[in-house]
């Protein structure tokens, strides 16, 4: 248009024509298209292009829907897994790792980060372990393409930082962006703490291998169920790995009252009851307080019952048997007790040696001394810090004292027994005593069975087997129309613009055609004018030559200026012609 604007002077200035388009930039040829004509043309072509508009709109609206059909995004369902178990307190974890203490010796607290029940770091990737995935798949009727490998590829696990660690990470990341070397170092050394929850996501669309183009999809409900089953299987894995599901040992069925002497049988019975009691006592308070839905009794109740049973039944019988020296073979029993006494004495000697040795070490042990130099002043502070080994020794010594006390009590008991049995007159075992022993053994066996059944119920209960709690798998793809709405609007608008453009062009083409016809006519006219001029020139020349030859004949010569066409017509005149 610039060129056209530059040539305003040559544009026609008809006041009746308000807009004139110059479509020919050729300086030699100029033409204009009347928009009114174009719209008029559009009106004339509306029968065709109204349908083109409809077609383009339809394509614009339908294309996104069709595209969605063929390239639908895969659904991802997610679930928040929250760990729900107890872990050894932080101060015990190092000792546990070293093996200097056992789990039974540690104190526990509810898990607040990603620590495993044994105090080690929890490997959350076990969610994708073959055991977990295969357990989840077993029993589900899914396509073959959905197997452990493809499932693993479609699972993602995201751990969640604590708010404090998140802030630290963000601030350090900000410094790292500023290329701060110190920030890099701090970022590397930063101890990030995670929450006791993580998110597991499963995406639909299973490829048999990476190069495969075939994608197998399962139903949304199946996908959600599969994730739920995976997390349930993960909980089972945690239970199997970490839960103490050891049932009490049956120490009663092995007591052969017919072979053993009465006191030996009673000794084994008492030891069995003590063992069962200790087994119950070692359980956490939550387990002890659990009430059975079958009996309404708790483990604490059973412990009390065991104590009472031992007191009123076993010890009662034992007292009678030992005081009256009721035995099948007094000498054999004495020999047996003497042997047990000697063993206990040997053990005590060993423990006493340990105590003495440990005491020596503790007396001569030198703990660390810590000196702190103060920046503000030259003064230095010092403090003493016990080493881990020293503290271990101290606690070991306490354990030695406990062991020695137990052995001393045991020795005193054996010595007393031997003395009394030796002094007493042997009494033969009566049927009554045998029957009473049999009743005691049967009662103990029944009690053991009850405790075992109680523990089996506890081990199967949700209270004991919940190591993690996961929310229901959630995830939803937008609906067919909602997902494509934006694209449909864009498609519709583009289609409409395209159709209108085509319509406009179609209306414009006739105007072009008209203009080109005009130009052809114009060029033809110019050609005629040229030939006319040529003919006129020729004619003038021939007249001139005739006049000249006449003048020559008369003796006058006229010079002809080639640049000046004498008698040549102007452009306007030519036009007029």
């Amino acid at each position: 248009m610039d060129n056209n604007e530059n040539r305003k002077d040559i544009l026609p200035t008809d006041p009746n024509r308000q807009i004139q388009l110059v479509v020919n930039n050729n300086q030699d040829e100029d033409g204009t298209i009347d928009l009114g004509n174009v719209f008029h043309n559009m009106k004339l072509k509306k029968r065709v292009f109204a349908w083109v508009l409809v077609l383009c709109l339809t394509i614009g609206l339908c294309a996104p829907l069709l595209l969605y059909q063929f390239s639908k995004p895969e659904l991802t369902v997610s679930s928040v897994v929250t760990l729900r178990y107890e872990v050894p307190m932080a101060r015990y974890r190092t000792a546990l790792k070293n093996g200097s203490i056992t789990l039974a010796e540690a104190e526990f607290e509810p898990v607040s980060d990603l620590t495993a029940p044994d105090g080690e770091d929890l490997d959350v990737n076990q969610v994708t372990s073959s055991y977990v995935l295969q357990t989840a798949l077993d029993g589900m009727n899914l396509p073959e393409a959905v197997n452990v490998e493809t499932l693993r590829a479609n699972i993602s696990i995201q751990t969640v930082l604590t708010e404090e660690s998140q802030r630290t990470k963000e601030s350090l990341a900000g410094l790292a962006e500023a290329k701060n070397a110190e920030a890099y170092t701090r970022l590397q050394n930063a101890q990030m703490k995670y929450q006791n929850r993580f998110i597991v996501s499963l995406t639909n669309g299973f490829k048999e291998d990476e190069e495969s183009r075939v994608v197998t999809e399962i139903k949304d409900s199946e996908l959600k169920l599969l994730l739920d089953r995976i997390l349930t299987a993960y909980n089972d894995y945690l239970v199997k790995t970490y839960a103490d599901v050891k049932l009490p040992n049956d120490a009663f069925s092995v007591i052969d009252a017919s072979e053993l002497d009465i006191l030996d049988s009673l000794d084994q019975l008492r030891a069995g009851i003590d063992g069962l009691y200790n087994y119950c006592d070692e359980k956490p308070d939550t387990v002890k307080a659990y009430r059975s839905w079958q009996t309404g009794r708790s483990l604490e109740d059973w412990m009390e019952t065991l104590e009472t049973f031992k007191s009123i039944n076993v010890d009662y019988l034992y007292a009678m048997v030992s005081e009256n020296a009721i035995t099948r073979d007094k000498n054999a029993l004495l020999t047996s007790w003497k042997y047990l006494l000697r063993t206990a004495q040997n053990d005590l000697e060993e423990v006493n040696e340990n105590i003495a040795e440990t005491q020596k070490i503790l007396a001569s042990y030198k703990n660390d001394e810590v000196f702190i130099s103060m920046q503000e002043s030259d003064a230095a502070k010092s403090t003493k810090a016990s080493t881990e080994y020293y503290n271990e020794l101290v606690l070991k010594q306490t354990a030695n004292y406990e062991k020695a006390a137990e052995l001393k009590a045991s020795i005193a008991d054996y010595e007393d027994r031997i003395r009394r049995l030796d002094a007493a007159k042997e009494t033969e075992v009566s049927e009554e005593v045998e029957a009473e022993l049999a009743r005691s053994l049967a009662s103990a066996q029944e009690m053991y069975n009850s405790v075992k059944a109680h523990m089996e119920e506890v081990f199967a209960s949700r209270m004991y087997t919940t190591f993690e709690d996961h929310s229901a798998a959630q995830g939803k793809l937008p609906s067919f129309l909602a997902a494509s709405l934006k694209k449909m609007i864009i498609g519709g608008v583009v289609g409409a613009i395209l159709a209108c453009g085509l319509w406009f062009l179609a209306a414009l083409i006739p105007e072009f055609s008209k203009n080109s016809e005009f130009r052809i006519q114009n060029s033809e006219l110019k050609g005629t004018k040229k030939s006319l001029r040529q003919a006129q020139d020729d004619k003038n020349n021939s007249e001139f030559r005739i006049q000249n030859s006449e003048l020559e004949k008369e003796g006058t010569t006229v010079k002809r200026d080639s640049s000046t066409s004498v008698g040549m017509t102007t452009g306007k005149e030519a036009d007029a012609e």
């Binding site: 995201q158 007292a319 810590v370």
Partner: protein, 465 residues
């Protein structure tokens, strides 16, 4: 061609495309469609259900619905026990929690943000579904009738509700853990009864705390606990009679039992006292670590640490002293009983009485054989009465527990919806969606083709004009 023809033709093409698409959808649907199924839902509205807690206060889930017990019982009820196994049915049983849209949205938001605020986290991870949809698909036997499938699911729901009531309702053991009580001596019998009464009293107190508003005929669990307390005072009175009068079936045996016990406990006490001395020495000798706080850049920094060894030693010392106290109490108890039995206490009382010049005390006198026999008979009667009273309270307690279970777990609090049979047929919503998705593109393409043809035709008309 006239305009009306084109509309008609376009309509025909659209209908044809729609029909083809629907037929195609039907073919595809028949290949993809799942098995027919029976569906129902179960809704929990008891107290604590929304917190994931069962009526008994423990964690709750619906996994019991697919347990062997429930499935076997349901198969038995539906008369299909021989035909199918619990394992077969379990594979076709789908239990899904119904979550509100809001929670699903929060979850999606939480997953996408990963740093949602605490409120969102709590809502997402602590939400527990109270409604579950239960679907039994018929993919274990295609020949099973719709009626049988529906009946089976109904039986499963019923069996589960029964199991739920059993498992999550409180119960009371009907038998004493220590059997053959009459075989024991009086003191032993009383000890066993006392222990049992204490346990049940504790249970009643727990329930009173859990359901303070529960009343049956104007009485609550607290009242049961009070009844047990009253029983305990009865036991104490009877214990006094037995102990002070040395009433026993076999006096000599009981005496030896006490002597043995005192002796054994004494050995334990001696060794524990020795242990205590050593531990005390250890506690005194232990030098606790010093801790220095250094002020740097306006903040205090702690230097030195305490791993709790000293505290552990002190704790150990406390354990030993507690144990010593316990043994001392035991020895004192057995000694007093022994004294009562041997008459030491009576002699002492007599001596005191003589010193003070007071009147003779009947209880302090040594009893004659006839009196002893009479006393034994009295104790026997009292024991019987005690046991009868205990049984009576137990019966009241059981009735109350049943009433409480009925209040907590009933048709309203565990509501099972009607079982419906559904087969994914051509009238189902799933097919409608499939048909729209298949026929829709075909219709769109058909419409486009019609438009192209119409345009070409109009163009030709234009040219011809």
């Amino acid at each position: 061609m006239k305009k009306t023809h084109w509309f008609r033709n376009t309509l025909i093409v659209l209908i044809c495309c729609g029909l083809v698409g629907t037929i195609l959808a039907a073919v595809l649907f028949s290949g993809e469609a799942g098995s027919p199924y029976a569906a129902s839902s179960i809704q929990f509205s008891f107290e604590g259900a929304a917190d994931g807690k069962a009526p008994n206060g423990y964690a709750f889930d619906v996994s019991g619905l697919t347990s062997d017990e429930v499935l076997n019982e349901a198969l038995e009820t539906a008369g299909l026990a021989g035909a199918y196994t619990a394992e077969q049915v379990r594979g076709s049983l789908n239990v899904t929690g119904v979550y509100p849209e809001k929670i699903a949205e929060q979850m999606t938001k939480y997953v996408s943000l990963l740093s949602a605020d605490a409120g969102t986290q709590a809502a997402v991870s602590d939400y527990h579904a109270t409604q579950y949809s239960v679907t039994l698909y018929n993919d274990f036997d295609k020949s099973i009738s719709s009626g049988k499938l529906t009946e089976l699911l109904g039986a499963i729901m019923t069996a589960y509700r029964a199991r739920f009531t059993k498992v999550y309702g409180p119960s009371l053991t009907k038998t004493d853990p220590i059997a053959n009580l009459p075989d024991y001596d009086y003191a032993q019998q009383l000890e066993a009864i006392s222990e049992s009464v204490k346990q049940q009293s504790r249970y009643a107190e727990e329930l009173a705390e859990m359901a303070p508003d529960f009343l049956l005929s104007g009485k609550g669990f607290g009242d049961i606990a009070v009844q047990y307390e009253s029983l305990e005072s009865d036991i104490n009175r009877l214990d006094a009679t037995i102990t002070l009068n040395a009433v026993s079936k076999d006096r000599e045996r009981l005496q030896k039992r006490y002597e043995t016990e005192i002796r054994t406990q004494q050995y334990q006490l001696d060794s524990l006292n020795e242990e205590l001395k050593l531990i005390e020495a250890q506690v005194d000798a232990y030098d606790k670590d010093g801790i220095v706080y250094v002020s740097a850049n306006g903040s205090l920094q702690k230097v030195g640490s305490d791993d709790g060894t000293y505290d552990k030693l002190v704790k150990k010392r406390k354990e030993v002293t507690d144990k010593i106290a316990e043994i001392n109490a035991k020895i004192a108890l057995y000694q007093s009983r022994l004294d009562d039995m041997t008459g030491v206490a009576a002699k002492a009382a007599k001596a005191a009485q003589a010193t003070e010049g007071a009147e003779d005390l009947a209880a302090a006198e040594e009893l004659t054989a006839r009196e002893k026999k009479q006393l034994q008979e009295t104790v026997d009667k009292k024991l019987e009465a005690l046991i009868a009273k205990k049984n009576e309270i137990e019966a009241d307690f059981s009735v109350m527990l049943e009433a409480y279970t009925a209040r907590e777990i009933n048709e309203k609090t565990v509501f099972v919806d009607k079982v419906k049979y559904k087969a994914p047929g051509l009238l189902s919503g799933a097919f409608a969606v499939k048909a729209i998705k298949t026929a829709g593109p075909l219709c769109a393409v058909g419409f486009m083709v019609c438009m192209v043809l119409l345009i070409i035709s109009r163009r030709k008309e234009e040219k011809a004009r």
